[in-house]
Amino acid sequence: MSTAPTTTATKLTRKDFESDQDVRWCPGCGDYAILAQVQRVLPDLGIPRERFVFLSGIGCSSRFPYYVNTYGFHTIHGRAPTIATGLKATRPELSVWVVTGDGDALSIGGNHLIHVLRRNVDLTILMFNNRIYGLTKGQYSPTSEVGKVTKSTPGGSVDHPFHPIALALGADATFVARSLDVEAKHLQEILRRAHAHRGSSFVEILQNCNIFNDGAFENLTDKERKAEHQLVLEHGKPLVFGAKRDKGIRLGSGMRPEVVTVGNGVSEADLIVHDEQDPTLAYFLSRMQPPEFPTPIGVFHAAVRPTYDAALNAQLAAAAAKPADLDQLFTRGDTWTVE
């Protein structure tokens, strides 16, 4: 199509994915760290820069496309999955990313999120979860905890929150993962896995809003405490956590998980072994929450299922065997000729 050189000709670097726009999130916002990890990962994916498209809805997270020097589309509150679906369906060779937040994805865009996941459109969906509305200055979100005192809930929120991971699994998502804004290495690895997955990849990224909900995930990010509160999921490995790696998750009575200390008759062999292919285990893990449990991070579930865009294009490819003759189409059915 073009005589211009493609960007594959040279090795891409992080710089190639920085746009000329000033980044305008609040100083100290967790979004900076996520942007940095995305910009670090993109050059390594073996895809020419012009084939990346970042789409977003509305909210703090949704400014993301302006800061990545790829194709980008800042759309409408909650609707990015719909626009991404039309783009990916007709241009399956593109690498399409959706950047969204807890309000954008789970509140106003909840319907589109569950449908894009069930269809398994080949998209990478990054949902920044800060459990608050930031851009509108501090109302509670669909992931805010019950009792949350905000501008719109001075007496405390009475809404039961969504568990984003459980919601994604309930919608039959084929790739469901969680990471943290400040866990650079972990987040990079999850981004690579999410990108490599064929189908809808849903990544919940716990992200600190230092203005309206500072410290929401402090237990998970504080260097001293995080080992006691993070449960890092690894496929084929037992569910172990703790600074001394001496705690684990065991299946207790009645299919209920329980935290146990390894030793005193409990061995690692008694612990649940993580299996990314098991949707039941994934759901079970998605329900584990503090303070009773550590917070799992990593890949909850990864399954193989045909993607919507591939299946749709396969139907068109099969039909392409038939001649596409407009004159024949116009005269389908009964015709008559007037001399």
Partner: protein
């Protein structure tokens, strides 16, 4: 055409009478197959060479309780040896398959019109369901008609007595008896219907045989019974030479989109959510995959237009189809499409509103929503189709404008022409104009919001193009660069540029066609599906010597540049619309013309006579 072989039995000669125009309506329970009977009578009529126009009329309920007034379904056809503009104001013939069908439709039958009823259905129980206290066949209330009491049910059962089919299946063939009988009555060839039956029921020969047998039984009954003394002939109409097919507005719309995408050399993407009366476009397009047609049945109306906009971003010819309630939901994305300046056609098959309103009935009350139904200053072009066949050309033109001007376009149709049918002179694909699509791929000097000086369109650059990576979005853009900008003066500038771009389309609108005297007393100005009724009315009025002309608008925004001068050549202007007066409001505001409205909001199209009556009243007013 010759009658079928079975009809060649010994018969006494019957009178044949020539007629110029006939309006026939088939009416029955929604399970009686009246739409099917009407459709096949239409095809037979097309083969007979008449001009024609149809109007299906069905209830919102898929299957209302059998025999009730709510469950009556009708199909009306006007056919003639002259040019036909509408499905007809009143019927010459009414086929009523039960008392409810009679009750609902009898007022539309002309005095001395032919009424064919299935006698056995006039039981006490059915009469009660149809809210008759007395049997109308016996109480003299039908004396003003020629009533033909035919035992349709019994004759159908008799024809299939040895078929071995269940009673229920046998009774479902009744519509073909009625079709056969009326085919005989008006010299329609039944061969096309026999062919259709053979194809449709190829896998169930017993059903094919039963339907064919009943169709012929109906035909032969007319030929042999003493009940009918006369059959009627309607000679072929003088029609422009060419290949024709009968087409509904929705099918024509679908074909127009496919043709446009083919002539643009791009795939077509339809995002849609099922809604009456637009769903048939989705059904049609989903069968055209060999033409590179993607159809996406979305989770809701918002996702439907969102996906279409995403496909447009990727370089497809993108469309979404809906009706009024769905258009409400699409408004926000239409605003985004205006802001990011991507081509998109939003098709609204209007129906009775507000809210769920009259889902299966027609109305033209979404014009001002198309014009103004978005927040902010949000202009976009609006086109309206005038007849079922005109939907093809209008859909094609909507795509052309969307691509040339990089803008969303609203295409308005309505339930009347969407489901109604008329003969369509099939164009040759090679004669359709090409729609040039240019994706910019030169990075030198590229800016996302630079503009073509003639059209003011920004360049279409699709993802995947090296060196032209850029970001678009709903925030106000800085002129040329497309960077987000909150600058006050830039905002006003961009508002005015977007407005000027749409206004500039007027330069391409062809001169307005005026039928009737080029100047005079009264101009009847219409848009959309009122075309047929107005054209027929103006023909009637001018043949009586009245100074009345007709102009019909395909382009509603912007309006044709010559419209001011056209309006100025008539002393009075009348705007008939199926709403409370939406175009008339725009015309008055735009041209300071004292235009009058003629408004009907009954879920039914205008009758020709209603327009004639109003025009005569205006003409009779003192200057």
């Amino acid at each position: 055409m010759s009658p079928p072989e079975d009809a060649a039995a010994v018969r006494r000669p019957k009178a044949r009478e020539a007629l110029e125009t006939v309006v026939i309506r088939f009416a029955g329970d929604s399970g009686d197959g009246m739409q099917l009977a009407g459709t096949h009578f239409t095809i037979e009529t097309a083969f007979a060479g008449n001009d024609l126009s149809t109007l299906p009329d069905f209830p919102a309920e898929i299957r209302a309780p059998a025999g009730t007034l709510a469950g009556v379904s009708g199909f009306q056809l006007n056919f003639s040896s002259q040019e036909v503009f509408t499905p007809g104001d009143v019927c010459d013939v009414l086929v009523a398959m039960n008392p409810a069908a009679l009750q609902v439709n009898v007022d539309d039958l002309k005095p001395n019109g032919m009424l064919i009823v299935d006698r056995e259905t006039f039981s006490d129980a059915n009469l009660k369901k149809a809210e008759y206290r007395e049997n109308p066949l016996h109480d003299g209330t039908l004396a003003r008609f020629q009533v033909f009491e035919v035992d349709i049910t019994k004759l159908t059962v008799n024809a299939l007595v040895e078929s071995g089919l269940s009673n229920k299946t046998v009774l479902r063939c009744k519509n073909f008896f009625a079709l056969g009988l009326t085919s005989w009555l008006f010299h329609r060839p039944i061969e096309p219907t026999l062919e259709w039956i053979a194809q449709k029921f190829a896998k169930t020969p017993a059903l094919a045989d039963a339907n064919a047998r009943v169709l012929k039984a109906g035909y032969n009954f007319g030929d042999t019974t003493e009940l009918f003394h006369t059959s009627y002939e309607v000679l072929p109409a003088r029609i422009a030479p060419g290949t024709y097919r009968n087409i509904t507005g929705n099918t024509a719309t679908a074909l127009g989109f496919v043709a446009a995408a083919q002539r643009a050399g791009r795939p077509l993407f339809l995002g849609s959510y099922p809604i009456t009366p637009a769903s048939d476009i989705l059904h049609e397009l989903s069968t055209y995959k060999e033409f590179g047609v993607f159809t996406f049945q979305a989770e809701d109306e918002i996702a439907a237009i969102g996906a279409a906009l995403g496909a447009a971003f990727g370089g497809a010819i993108a469309i979404t189809t809906t009706s009024g309630p769905g258009m409400n939901l699409k408004a926000e994305t239409m605003g985004l499409a205006v802001m990011v300046e991507l081509p998109l056609v939003v098709t609204d098959i209007q129906r009775g509103g507000p809210s769920t309103g009259l889902p299966t009935k027609t109305e033209q009350a979404d014009l001002l929503m198309a014009m103004y139904g978005r927040h902010g200053e949000c202009p976009l072009p609006i086109l309206a189709a005038a007849t079922p066949a005109d939907c093809f050309a209008t859909a094609f033109e909507a795509v052309r404008i969307a691509v040339r001007y990089m803008t969303p376009v609203v295409l308005l149709s309505d339930g009347y022409i969407a489901n109604g049918a008329e003969p369509w002179r099939v164009p040759r694909a090679a004669d359709l104009p090409a729609i040039p699509v240019v994706f910019r791929d030169d990075p030198a000097g590229y800016q996302p919001y630079m503009r073509d000086p003639a059209s003011l369109a920004r360049p279409w650059v699709i993802p995947g193009t090296p060196g032209l990576e850029h970001r678009i979005g709903g925030l106000e853009r800085e002129d040329v660069t497309g960077n987000v900008s909150y600058a006050p003066v830039n905002h006003e500038h961009m508002i005015r540029v977007r407005q000027r771009k749409i206004a500039g389309i007027a330069g391409e609108i062809p001169p307005t066609t005026v039928t009737g005297p080029p100047e005079g007393e009264l101009l009847i100005l219409g848009w959309g599906s009122t075309y047929g009724a107005i054209a027929g009315a103006v023909q009637e009025l001018t043949s009586g010597g009245a100074s009345v002309a007709h102009a019909h608008l395909r382009y509603l925004n912007p309006l044709p540049p010559d419209l001011a001068s056209v309006l100025g050549r008539y002393r009075k202007v009348l705007v008939p619309e199926m709403n409370l007066g939406q175009l008339v409001r725009l015309i008055r505001a735009e041209y300071l013309v004292d235009a009058h409205g003629l408004n009907k909001i009954q879920g039914r199209p205008f009758k020709q006579s209603e327009i004639v009556t109003r025009a005569r009243a205006i003409l009779a007013e003192r200057p």
